[in-house]
Symmetry: C2
Subunit: 332 residues, 2 copies
DNA sequence: CTGAAAGCGCTTACAG
DNA sequence: CTGAAAGCGCTTACAG
């Protein structure tokens, strides 16, 4: 035992301020509704007792948690970092308690985190990945809103705020053709989203050029460290590619470093395109051509959806397409 | 309104399984204590009703939350990413619910997050930064354990698990002297930890060489993007430094990129040393000399401390020094 | 503007 | 191994 005395509760503050617990509760949740003189006494009593409201009890009694769970796969090397930081900031400043959960790439951990979030009766779960059918059913039975970001699944569990990865792949293909590239090398991860971008790219590329790109695979998340192997493996190709399409800006950065170490110039000898428009894309030398996704817009839409849900309103729209933009820079 | 019916509760499961709520509760928390036949009925009832325990009510009744709050400044470019991921993984798999909080660099947000954590009656708060006096007093009155990691303050609020940043600075100085460097350029952020590393470096350097290093400042977190300005500013120095001491591996990476873009060879024309031994330190070309901190050890000690605290034991030790190691690589 | 009291959904000592 | 019942610390409709 730590020997610390019990935490003061509403009752202790009430006694100290000589009011009822109901009045202290009202003051804590909305100071404006109690009389000035009473408020002053309560404030003093809270200060004196060191009272910290018990949110567990409060949420239980009021039947709402004002908590939002945000699930991300990784801290570092994530396509979502900028968006998530922005979203967490906005959620926090509008009075929500954010519970960040680290899922890794394991479905088991995702499952566990979703259950924990539901058990704490969160208002919403924001996830960068899809949920499997069993879990979807479970979520569907609760009052918690499921928000998937960065993708537009055909039949979203709750609501989806994202863009078409297939279209992004197509756009990249068109862009490379327009720049005169002939031998693209496509580096893809095993995630459903990467696979759809790849499909979009392949469809469009083959349609426009009647040729077939070479390919390589990397693990999720696609990061800087993968570049060494990917680059080294190029020598097994019959012809060296003239452009490498990466699943993230970090990987693109790694490819540039490897290319330069091998004496190649980017983009003269080899073009490189990233994905996600992470901060480093604009900071690397050469700066990295990438696909930008409007993280601010996503954050805003997430906020709006949660607010509507908290206010008990329905959603006319289940999917919001925020689009994307190809940002041409020096690396291509 | 969503039109969803009320979430099923213990009572619904109990009725369905024809037992008391007490028994269902026991089953949920420890399946082994109920008879096999009863357990089977309850399991079926839970399945049928889609019951998800209300952790808010459970924690309130049992007076323990099994929640741990982990406070970090940023997602990306953080010295702590590897350690935090590891820690979160271990905490989660040993039955704790982890609440990740994003503090940014603002004390106000840190304050708010600490209050939220305390209000939810977390067992412990793990933080990569110190807490101000008022908040420390507040935390001290609760049953929540404060754990500061990556530093060893003189008088820790709860317990501290880290290392001496001053010693790290001194070690770097000795190392550079031993490698024959003469004109170090020290890039420091405004954080207390960076400042102490700087002080250690300066003390040792001046003692050994009787010369004074040049310096530059960057914002926290020290990241890749800062490199451009830092490097450009070198031309204002009377003599070009022969080695740059960076506050993070990301910044070191940026310096290497800038140096190469300017036609300098690392380490022949310019040495670079990072800090934190992030994954990229071993992956960059050239690989980056850095200070390694044993994140696995820190994670383990954090786990042990939380476990002891949850079991009501006292701490004989308030500060645990996990040390650090200088990893010499190609960049120096 | 304020108070008395019921209720939120669990847990757990106690008794059997 | 199981049940009846008190209690965890709040909130809030109702009444004044």
């Amino acid at each position: 035992m730590t020997g610390k005395k019990q935490a003061p509760k509403l009752e202790d503050v009430a006694r100290e301020a000589d009011v009822s617990t109901a009045t202290v509760s009202r003051f804590v949740n909305n100071p404006a509704v109690v009389a000035k003189a009473t408020a002053d006494r309560i404030r003093a009593a809270i200060e004196k007792t060191g009272y910290i409201p018990n949110a567990l009890a409060g949420d239980l009694a009021s039947q709402r948690s004002r908590m939002v769970a945000v699930l991300i796969p990784h801290l570092e090397n994530s396509l979502f970092s900028d968006m998530i930081e922005r979203m967490v900031g906005e959620l926090t400043s509008s009075g929500n308690n954010v519970m960040l959960g680290l899922t890794g790439t394991s479905q088991k951990r995702t499952d566990a985190l979703v259950r924990v979030a539901l058990a704490r009766r969160v208002d919403a779960i924001v996830s960068t990945g899809p949920v499997d059918d069993d879990l979807a059913r479970l979520v569907g039975r609760t009052r918690s809103l499921w928000i998937e970001v960065w993708d537009l699944p055909d039949n979203p569990v709750g609501i989806a705020i994202g863009f078409s990865h297939q279209d992004a792949g197509r756009d990249i293909a068109r862009f490379l053709v327009s720049r005169g590239y002939r031998r693209p090398h496509l580096v893809t991860a095993d995630s459903p989203r990467s696979q759809r971008r790849k499909q979009g790219f392949l469809d469009e590329w083959m349609e426009l050029t009647s040729s077939v790109p070479t390919e390589a695979h990397v693990d999720v998340p696609t990061r800087f460290g993968h570049a060494r192997r990917v680059f080294a493996d190029l020598r097994h190709l019959e012809e060296r590619p003239d452009v490498i399409i990466c699943g993230s800006d970090h990987l693109a950065q790694g490819i540039i470093v490897e290319a330069q170490a091998a004496g190649l110039k980017v983009p003269d000898d080899l073009g490189v395109i990233g994905f996600g428009n992470n901060q480093i894309a604009g900071e690397m030398r050469p700066t990295i051509t990438s696909i930008d996704v409007d993280g601010e817009r996503i954050a805003r839409e997430v906020m709006a959806a949660i607010k509507r849900h908290q206010e008990g309103q329905d959603f006319p729209v289940r999917a919001i397409d925020v689009g994307f933009r190809l940002i041409a820079r020096e690396s291509i």
